[in-house]
């Protein structure tokens, strides 16, 4: 083998070529979260929110399960009670932010291009376009996707995941990372249950509990106004709890952030 340029080293034999570690080599043990940079930004975002006594809800679901419709109905019901604002995440278009603005609340649209999720840095950038001192509840409508958004802490206080009855009732079993992260699961479009004979709400809850989730399952139809009271009361309760936390200098956090292991850096040299 050529020792100077490593030209003989291929992916197949590289592990043989480099072991054992030669003089000058070292091993570093780290145990650091891969998304630590994002998580640091999320902690910063959350500190901003807490300073202003804002409750921040991260809405996640597959595309088309009714996140924007739920926001529109919630805004109409609550806009005289609380000061609301929305950050919208989509790959392209201002459509959702425009829909929200017609209901009389500020909305900022993040277009991610091809990125499949929002991250804490995108949300931080969006915060510069909102007046945080004039907001009680900030909704972040994440990119419609049941996979990636679950991995990125944005600085929110609660995760809400929607499951519409036009999807399969086994979605929690198919997307466990997403549904495990939910602090509340909204079963949406329940007015369509009467014409859909293949969606069983009890099965959906069964699959959710199989994930060891104790999150409340809130059944509603935003379009028909069914079940909205329980959802709105949940929001009121969470806002009161968040304000109590913030007054004590503590913070509400989603009950579960993926890989929330303490950051622990150890360095050891082997040679």
């Amino acid at each position: 083998m050529c020792d100077s340029c490593g030209c003989n080293v291929t992916p197949g034999n590289k592990h043989l070529a480099y072991k054992p570690i030669q003089n000058g080599g070292s091993a570093v043990s780290i145990l650091k979260k891969l998304l630590a940079h994002n998580d640091d930004q999320a902690v910063h975002n959350r500190a901003h929110f807490n300073m202003h006594g804002i409750l921040v809800i991260n809405l996640m679901s597959s595309p088309g399960s009714g996140k924007t419709a739920l926001l529109e109905a919630s805004i109409d019901a609550l806009k005289h009670e609380f000061r609301l604002a929305v950050i919208e995440g989509d790959l392209e278009t201002e459509n959702d932010a425009a829909r929200i603005r017609t209901h009389g609340v500020p909305a900022y649209q993040i277009t991610t291009g091809s990125a499949c999720h929002l991250d804490a840095h995108m949300v931080h950038e969006a915060l510069h376009h909102l007046n945080l001192s004039e907001i009680d509840i900030l909704f972040i409508e994440n990119v419609g996707n049941l996979v990636c958004p679950a991995s990125f802490d944005l600085g929110q206080h609660r995760n809400v995941t929607l499951l519409s009855v036009t999807e399969g009732d086994d979605k929690p079993a198919k997307y466990p990372v997403m549904f495990r992260a939910a602090d509340a699961v909204v079963l949406s479009k329940i007015d369509l249950l009467s014409v859909l004979d293949d969606f069983d709400p009890a099965q959906a809850e069964h699959h959710l509990r199989q994930l060891a989730s104790t999150a409340p399952l809130l059944s509603l139809s935003a379009r028909k106004g069914q079940g909205m009271t329980v959802w709105l009361d949940w929001l009121r309760h969470e806002l009161a709890a968040q304000r109590a936390h913030a007054q004590d200098g503590a913070t509400a956090r989603p009950h579960l952030q993926p890989n929330d292991t303490d950051v622990n850096i150890q360095t050891g040299f082997s040679s």
């Binding site: 630590a36 091809s114 996979v147 991995s151 199989q210 890989n259 360095t267």
Partner: protein, 131 residues
């Protein structure tokens, strides 16, 4: 790097890879910092601990890594992924048992009031550096 430069791959696959690419970019940033702190001129191996509930697919991470690492001190590093077991602790009966990603119930009493002990890791565990 199958999938990355394919023009006809379906949108969801491409989006999914974007996710792993984001994770890889975060990984490479951390690795470069640590290599600099240790005055390394090359990163030989990178070992990750990844659990089934991390939200990251190891095979896609391996595909995305060369793109994120290109031109950096980690460009020729070997990426080693050590899968982590899924284990839960039962708050009802106290048992620690193995579980699966969509069935996180206690293996002894079957209760769903369990806490994950292991299985959601997304950790940079260690590096081998050449100085």
């Amino acid at each position: 790097m199958p999938g990355i430069f394919m023009t006809k791959c379906c949108l969801s696959n491409r989006l999914r890879l974007m996710h792993e690419l984001s994770v890889c970019q975060a990984l490479v940033t951390q690795v470069i910092d640590i290599a600099q702190q240790n005055s390394a001129r090359e990163v030989l191996t990178i070992t990750l601990h990844i659990g089934p509930l991390s939200g990251v697919e190891p095979a896609l991470l391996v595909n995305a890594f060369p793109l994120a690492a290109a031109g950096s001190v980690a460009a020729s590093a070997q990426l080693v992924i050590e899968p982590q077991p899924l284990r839960v602790h039962c708050q009802t009966c106290g048992a620690d048992t193995e579980a699966t990603a969509n069935r996180l119930l206690c293996g002894v009493c079957g209760d769903y009031h369990t806490q994950l002990i292991s299985g959601d890791e997304l950790l940079l565990a260690n590096l081998e550096l050449m100085s």
